[in-house]
Symmetry: C2
Subunit: 274 residues, 2 copies
């Protein structure tokens, strides 16, 4: 039976989400190894930085675990992302890592370290409306690489990120090399003017121009006292045009039950990219 490790690098996991996911995993012939750190609380976070880092590193070193599935997002994985990939434990690169939202900081760090990572549903998605489908999609992909779980239309190297998370890692050592890849972004609970500002920031970086195209996932926008006057897609088209990167249309990713899986390319020689 495939063992899948669960850690919470950002905010704490709900116990009922862990229980429901455990039951669903059995249907997929897998067992979830839920680290007790998932239920810690320390201010905003699922335990201190040290506790979250230690749980993650422990799971990364566990040779009996084939994949690490992030419990949920929120905020905080950036605080441990660089340390997480220093002096990688043996076996850390034989695993698959799955998550999104705030987990994007870790996806970026693990990708640059040479790991197999993917942007897709997390454990706590199971308790959102229709969320069992999201968790089942994640498990189908983790246990049997089910192609039906994937974002459609992927035809080359691809990256996917929550937009504010991507903006917050651009220019830092976590920024991926986007050369020749497509980039999918999604957003939740941000005003359109912020989406405009994040897209200004991301598309104005030298590294952005190397992309093959940008696609826009779902953006659940927050109302603002001043209506922006444009929808998120028009904003994405505008900034792509400014940067000279083709806008490739929409993507089936977002903070919802339909969120599809986007595997990142695996770097063969991570030292050259670090």
């Amino acid at each position: 039976m495939m063992r899948i490790g669960i850690v919470a690098p950002s905010c704490p996991l709900k116990r009922e989400a862990a229980q429901q996911a455990q039951a669903l995993a059995r249907v997929h012939g897998a067992e979830l190894v839920v680290h007790p750190q998932c239920f810690l609380e320390d201010g905003h976070f699922a335990g201190s930085d040290a506790a979250r880092l230690s749980a993650l590193r422990e799971m990364m070193a566990d040779e009996t675990v084939a994949a690490i599935w992030f419990a949920r997002g929120g905020y905080g994985s950036n605080r441990i992302a660089r340390q997480a990939v220093q002096d990688l434990p043996a076996g850390a690169l034989n695993k698959t890592y799955l998550g999104y939202s705030d987990g994007g900081f870790l996806l970026a760090a693990l990708h640059k370290a040479g790991a197999r990572v993917a942007h897709g549903p997390m454990v706590q998605d199971i308790v959102r409306e229709g969320g069992e489908a999201a968790a089942a999609r994640a498990l189908a992909w983790l246990t049997s690489s089910d192609p039906a779980a994937l974002e459609q239309g992927l035809d080359g190297p691809a990256f996917a990120f929550n937009l504010v998370v991507l903006s917050s890692l651009m220019g830092t050592p976590l920024q991926p090399d986007f050369t020749g890849a497509e980039l999918l972004v999604e957003e939740v609970d941000e005003e359109v003017y912020r989406i405009d500002r994040f897209l200004f920031h991301v598309t104005s970086q030298p590294g952005f121009a190397a992309l093959r195209q940008l696609r826009l996932g779902r953006c659940r926008v927050r109302e603002n006292d001043r209506p922006f006057g444009q929808a998120a897609e028009a904003v994405a088209r505008y900034w792509c045009e400014q940067a000279g990167v083709p806008f490739g249309g929409r993507a089936d990713i977002g903070h919802d039950a339909d969120n599809r899986i986007v595997p990142f390319p695996v770097i063969k020689d991570p030292a050259r990219h670090s």
Copy 2:
């Protein structure tokens, strides 16, 4: 009588703010030249990008205007910042430019183009509580370089920015060369977890490590459903420590009537910095 041009590169100016500021300017022996663009409305903005850019460029080219005082912040100056400094009109570098908040994008662009810019109160601050003092401080500095208007404790090159604006220009061509300077940041209406994320982003950039020190202005934080567990100052100290840049304590800047003026260094040879 000194003429001070008013344009609104972000959101529209309130007419009563313009009127009150005009009356106050006369007390300081100055006349405000309020461009009608200040009162345009186009979605989020004080007119279209083209209208805001054109008004700014017109004022930059006006040889009878000694200074340009930004009307207010909001959002949008980033959309015209790069074009604003292309093929500078004659006389654009003989002026002083004053603003803050969203205006920081323009301050950065004008600074890199070789202009004399400063972070300080804007016209619309006059209608906030106690705001006449803020406007009087700005006018005293614009008309007579009053040293009492300045941030105290400046003893070398300094930059000041709203934190989210700074985060949104890091890594773009607008990012200043911070070598040997101190950096003052302030924030308003953001949750502490966002301040943490912006500081992660800013302090993780290669260009940040060249700073002499960081100081923290006032941060009016927004409550979050998850209390963060640390105040903004502890967060700033933490990220400075991570980056190896000294934390220099607090600064008397912020989105309030006490906001002091921080002139940026003037670049002698802007071509080398562009």
